[in-house]
Symmetry: D2
Subunit: 321 residues, 4 copies
């Protein structure tokens, strides 16, 4: 079954090594700190599946002195599409990213008809949070931001209610109250867009924001508006999902974080999680339990987005690990 195999133990390998000191030094450093480089570039690619894509891109990066610290790819054989995320250390990279982009388009993008994104990982992104009255997801995001788990700037909170103004103030974050009435949608959308522009916002998080986001925002921030829905979609879409779950008597409830599209609760799913419940859970218990799921699902989705690990296609996502 194996046509060839040259097995040697980890220890043998180390002894074999010429650059012995280097590895021993590495071993000493083991378990004291992660040495993952922080000044990296991330390239996200999607294109029709063909032979030689990985070879093409890695050869290009290698030629330019990149040390690849992460590479993962996925082929959707059912649709014939190829997806890749590659991240490399910029320390010994021989060109700057603008020049790399030119070369990359010339040597790879055109050849394979790629859709692509290029990010410099150390830049902090600017996230706006939209809230209404529920505090749980909002406070959770702010706590994680404060502990440094979410390495992001939060220059702006927009709300259609004043309830959470004090919470934003606690953390020293600008809170802007834009009341929504049956007649002022258009005007408030314009104001929202102006504010997002003024604060140079990269992406939006709807932390239980109880209003429909207007199409101009969705278009402007295509696949950059993250919502948390309080059910395990596609089960119980629409209003009052915990009441629906209670009536149906499900044994597990969940929450879903997805990018916002014009079709309500139907955008590409980024993350979901669930928790076991039983008959003894009242609707209030379901809500309380569910809010805990919402917290962690939204936090994970925001983190995946921040780290450029999400690719969208065909109303689905590839979320690299």
């Amino acid at each position: 079954m194996m046509t060839g195999q040259t097995l040697c133990s980890f220890t043998q390998l180390q002894n074999m090594l010429q650059g012995r000191e280097t590895l021993q030094h590495a071993m000493l450093l083991c378990y004291t700190s992660s040495m993952k480089p922080q000044n990296t570039a991330v390239l996200l690619i999607q294109c029709p599946d063909r032979d030689g894509i990985i070879a093409n891109v890695t050869a290009l990066l290698s030629r330019l002195g990149a040390n690849i610290v992460y590479l993962d790819q996925h082929t959707d054989h059912e649709c014939g599409m190829f997806f890749m995320r590659v991240e490399w250390d910029l320390e010994h990279f021989s060109v700057d990213l603008n020049d790399f982009q030119t070369i990359f388009i010339h040597e790879s993008v055109r050849k394979f008809m790629m859709t692509w994104e290029l990010h410099r990982h150390k830049d902090k992104q600017r996230m706006a949070i939209f809230v209404s009255k529920y505090a749980h997801c909002f406070l959770d995001l702010l706590s994680r931001w404060r502990t440094g788990d979410l390495a992001v700037d939060i220059p702006l909170v927009i709300s259609n209610h004043e309830d959470l103004q004090k919470d934003a103030k606690l953390f020293g974050i600008p809170f802007i109250h834009l009341k929504i009435t049956p007649t002022n949608h258009e005007e408030q959308t314009t104001e929202q867009l102006r504010l997002l522009e003024e604060y140079r916002i990269d992406f939006l998080v709807l932390a239980r924001y109880m209003q429909i986001v207007s199409p101009p925002l969705i278009e402007r921030y295509h696949n950059r508006i993250i919502n948390i829905h309080h059910s395990f979609l596609p089960g119980f879409p629409g209003a009052k999902p915990y009441h629906q779950a209670h009536t149906r008597g499900v044994k597990i409830i969940g929450a879903t974080s997805h990018y916002v599209t014009e079709e309500l609760d139907a955008g590409p799913i980024i993350e979901q999680d669930v928790q076991r419940v039983n008959h003894s859970f009242s609707i209030d218990d379901l809500i309380r339990t569910g809010q805990d799921i919402e917290r962690r699902v939204l936090a994970r989705a925001v983190l995946a987005h921040l780290e450029h690990r999400v690719l969208c296609y065909d109303n689905r996502t590839v979320v690299f690990s």
Copy 2:
């Protein structure tokens, strides 16, 4: 934050495509059947981390006409080691695997000091099962084998008890009873080795086999003996883990599948799973619940091994997805 981005929708992309028919054809096939090729080769690599490894290997494969269907890699930055699993379709591969091996050793192995394994995926492996008195894992493996979920040959069952002879017979599998006494260990080890040789066994599964496996077997089948331990290791090693779990009052129990090494219950962990329990679980309840976990953990570990997704180093595993 983004230095460059050329976003286009999935639909735009399709329209853009020149080879339009091909993709449309692919789209038609969508959701009717997985088109993952079955005649593939798998290469598992580990070596000290250096620049250019991925580029080197993918360029070689690309040059030889390989269509890569899977590539995943992992760098352990703490220890400076690099790991890769690459799988490619053999249909248009221009050399046979023996020749590939020669070229690969010449162009990659020596340069990067690689430890490696090469497998042809379509070959069915030959698995021996060791059992004692517990039937649950044994019957589960046989059921999955019968439904085709485990694409493996099972030419041999060895047991130190006669209890499960009837179960083996149900499924038409040779069952050999090798009684272990305080004085016949050495002789039975010799007989076990002879049988494994005679039946050309590739790897062993201990499905709740209640005897210590002898060092000569462990040496002969290095990282190819899969055990299921009935606790969430490293908690509760040794005997009667469910009794230990009950005494300690844990709220979650688990099971662990690992490769067997000379140190008991301490080999590289392949797979673990857990389940929530509570004070109302008697020891018998824990055992019954735990057996269900054992079943699925062992099945998953065997599957990962079969599909050449496991790499061992430093008494740990890399299990590719």
Copy 3:
């Protein structure tokens, strides 16, 4: 906050005890075997919530010499309904169950307008399995029956295909092939009912049976037909749920076991479970992963039913632990 408290340690308590030997004896037996009595009666009750129900029933049982080994109750405050499961040792019970029933109706049922069931736990129930072509749930049930985990008799398997005849034979269980054609539904339903009568079947399990069960069967076996649906209901009802899940790009898939009602996939849910998946799962991978969930969800639902732990109301279930 505490208005009263007389705390003493577990050890102090033991020393305090007059019947010291008894407890010490019990302690010695600790961890050697579960002493849960097996000759018990189970009473399931539901009625409008009122004061004094628990006191009424436990006082009656106490007066008749019952040692209660399990009591759990649930009040649905939203609907004002009360539910209880009580199980007691029959060894020193002073009346037989027929007499108890008479007394119980007289003293409790009428007073509280109870719906109730009374079961003797040691009687083995007779389960029929309906199958089609998929073997995984069927073999799993048979394996658990063989290991003794499902303490049930299986006198009959009915199938609309011949594929699993050999599997039934392996385990020595009568297999009856009742082919369903567009025109013979009524006649085959009559035959099914006749067989279930002849074999004195207590309840039915549809182990991936791919036909609609006829209303006369549903009526005859009200809340005694257990189905396994291969999605996390209410998501993806109907046909091909794994294909639907793949298209929607969910990050978790599941399975649901429920009692069969005339409305398809909408009966009271007994048990559900889920598993995390990601973009790399093809439809075939989802099916394989899902089948593993189906296996354990169905097994748990059957076990809960067997142990008289399930109460139905308002198209939901109370599943006592």
Copy 4:
């Protein structure tokens, strides 16, 4: 198998009812709000298992006009011990709790040699938090307190470092810095005890407090000091559990909340939870993932304690649902 059964549907039952309006009213209220009464008493009992305990207690409560809203019991057959939690509405209760206590001791406690606790549920408990440098659990508790999910007073935070002073101030909570040096343990313990007394603290939460709690505190707050340990105990006790988990290569990590006893990391476990990890997790990733588990495990343990759902015996817990 069933000796008797009077099944009627939920709808039939409702029509049968005389007090029809009451139930219909109840049905109207269905799904609008939980009607669980908030002015309740909770009684926790443990004693050697004997016949008639439930009947005795429920008859007493019934006689005094209690409407029982929760009753759950557990018998540890291996040790012959009985445990019960009963909660009843105080609205129509005919005696005050001091009088009830006297009657209860007279009629139940002496007869069954009970250890017991009696609590009035509406009283808010006073919780002190001990912290060091890690903010994640601390901020999570404060967020849940602010959203009202933890209905508790937090009059005091004690820390051996000044790092989290600002965070406490954000939420307006007194923060007292008690630096621990190799020589001042005894004196700081005295000061801690004095503060806990002064602030009338009911129970303590160690939110990643990195100091050993002194025996006098443990004795004074027996089973009322809740710790969060950052491993799935009993695996990886002691220091640096995430480093240990990384070295051992486990596939699941966890966290454990337990009451503090004099033996380190060995007190009665209240709650545990886990999360799947894999080879790609660096130590930093394990720490970050683990902190998320710590957050929710500690929050659940604190909630269970607050709601008087935890009983300790034999270094284990019964945690009622």
